[in-house]
């Protein structure tokens, strides 16, 4: 096995601990929205490195192209035009998997090993184990996974786990011409974000801040936002994302509860039979029916005579 298999922190539908011998540095990608010019080089680099090609779509009147994440477009620039302080602001957010510390997709996934969280924080889909049920879509608080119509497997950004494993930055970070996409250890990225936020504040963006939502335990893709108090401005980036309570119930307490209830019913039945015995038809009734039958045959014989 490749050493990479030792870096697994969590594995979908697996109840025993993953191998934990190796400890790798927690990484993060920092997307500085205030420095993004919307050139889409990151989208192109993602397609090139990962060998995915989306269909050429149609113009829908906005710059978003493609208009949504798909199984072949793992990252998409989302353009929002908002008016702030009497000025137009063009907020461009590079959307894609956030690589949550507490991933809703992994929690929801029923197939062992179809979703993996590496100890560096990357959440990866292993399509060879994916059964195509779409539970990851249900579990994700960011609406990221996409099921392919062609092969029914789920796809999303891998954070270039293959590049990161050999010490390279993700393709999108490597190619970004303005430095809006930074990559490194999560601690370093937070330090870098602090500098950017101080700078933004000095330029009048008093609410500038880091987007590292704690509802999902923090993420390994973080944003620097000029309006961190209103993430919704950025094409509905959720203000306080967390795994939906229904999903948490479904893949949490419901499992042991249902198993215990069913197990007790089955065992209870067995022990009831063993201790109380079967519910037999009473001897008196059996005899009564016997007599009736005899009387009937007797009567028939009588008639025949």
């Amino acid at each position: 096995m490749a050493l990479q298999s030792l870096d697994i922190q969590r594995r979908s539908a697996t109840t025993t601990p993953a191998p934990q011998a190796r400890e790798t540095t927690e990484i993060a990608k920092l997307i500085d929205v205030s420095a993004c010019i919307g050139c889409k080089a990151c989208q192109a680099a993602c397609m090139e490195w990962n060998d995915v090609r989306d269909e050429v779509g149609n113009c829908t009147g906005v710059y978003d192209n493609p208009v949504d994440l798909t199984e072949n477009s793992w990252t998409v620039m989302r353009f929002a035009e908002v008016e702030e302080n009497g000025k137009l602001e063009w907020l461009i957010r590079k959307d894609g998997c956030m690589h949550c510390e507490d991933p809703g997709c992994l929690k929801a996934c029923p197939s062992p090993g179809a979703i993996i969280q590496y100890s560096n924080g990357i959440v990866d889909f292993h399509q060879e184990n994916c059964i195509g049920c779409g539970y990851c879509v249900t579990g994700c608080p960011f609406n990221v996974p996409r099921i392919s119509k062609k092969d029914n497997k789920a796809y999303k950004c891998t954070l270039c786990s293959d590049r990161v494993a050999v010490g390279q930055a993700p393709a999108c970070a490597k190619v970004c011409p303005t430095g809006a996409i930074q990559f490194g250890s999560k601690a370093d990225m937070k330090d870098y974000a602090d500098k950017r936020i101080t700078d933004l504040k000095s330029r009048g963006y008093q609410q500038a801040g880091l987007y590292d939502p704690q509802g999902v335990g923090g993420t390994h893709v973080m944003y620097v936002l000029h309006h961190a108090d209103r993430p919704q401005l950025y094409n509905n980036l959720p203000a306080d994302p967390s795994i939906s309570p229904t999903v948490a119930l479904w893949k949490g307490v419901a499992k042991p509860l249902a198993m215990a209830a069913l197990g007790l019913t089955a065992l209870g039945s067995l022990f009831h039979y063993v201790m109380k015995g079967p519910n037999e038809v009473s001897k008196e009734l059996e005899d009564e029916m016997e007599r009736q039958a005899e009387a009937e045959t007797e009567g028939e014989r009588e008639n025949a005579r």
Partner: protein, 208 residues
Amino acid sequence: MIRNPRDLQRYTASERANHWVVGICFILLALSGLAFFHPAFFPLVNLFGGGTWARILHPYIGVVMALFFLVMVVRFASLNTMAERDWEWVKRVGEMVNGDDHNMPVQGKYNGGQKLLFWGLVLSMLLITLSGVVMWRSWFSFSVGMVRTAVVVHAAAAAFMIGLIFVHVYAAIWTRGTIRAMLYGTVTRAWAKQHHRDWYRSMTGDKN
């Protein structure tokens, strides 16, 4: 078991076939469904040719079950309306489970427990079918909010239904002479008189 011309017909061949189509579908659905519900049962997908095949087949088997179950409901619903004596039976069920059925009120073709089980199954099938449609991504695409509700409803209703079927199967095993009714259709007169006296009377004309 020797077949006796005096035995009473409880189910027609068509009713029995209907029941077993639903029963087979239930077993297949429970096995594949549990595999998706709890990692401990995931290996059960191998009975269906692997995880992906189990995921593909599960909803189609569900459609077959829902249709045949609907036919059963049409056939048996009117026989399962709860009456005064049925509630009385339910109140006293503890005595019977404890091994003493002497004080149980006289019952028709179905007792209060069977009737409640029937309506419990109707309710769970309704919830499971509707939520299952919402979860079926091959053919439908509902909002993520609806799917999130559907998955919980589907799992809860299915667990409830599996529990009901455990009770259903055990009651049939525990009450000797019952299973043959669903296998070849008849029960003995003694069985009928003991467990469903009013039905016995209507079938035989016996006044006792």
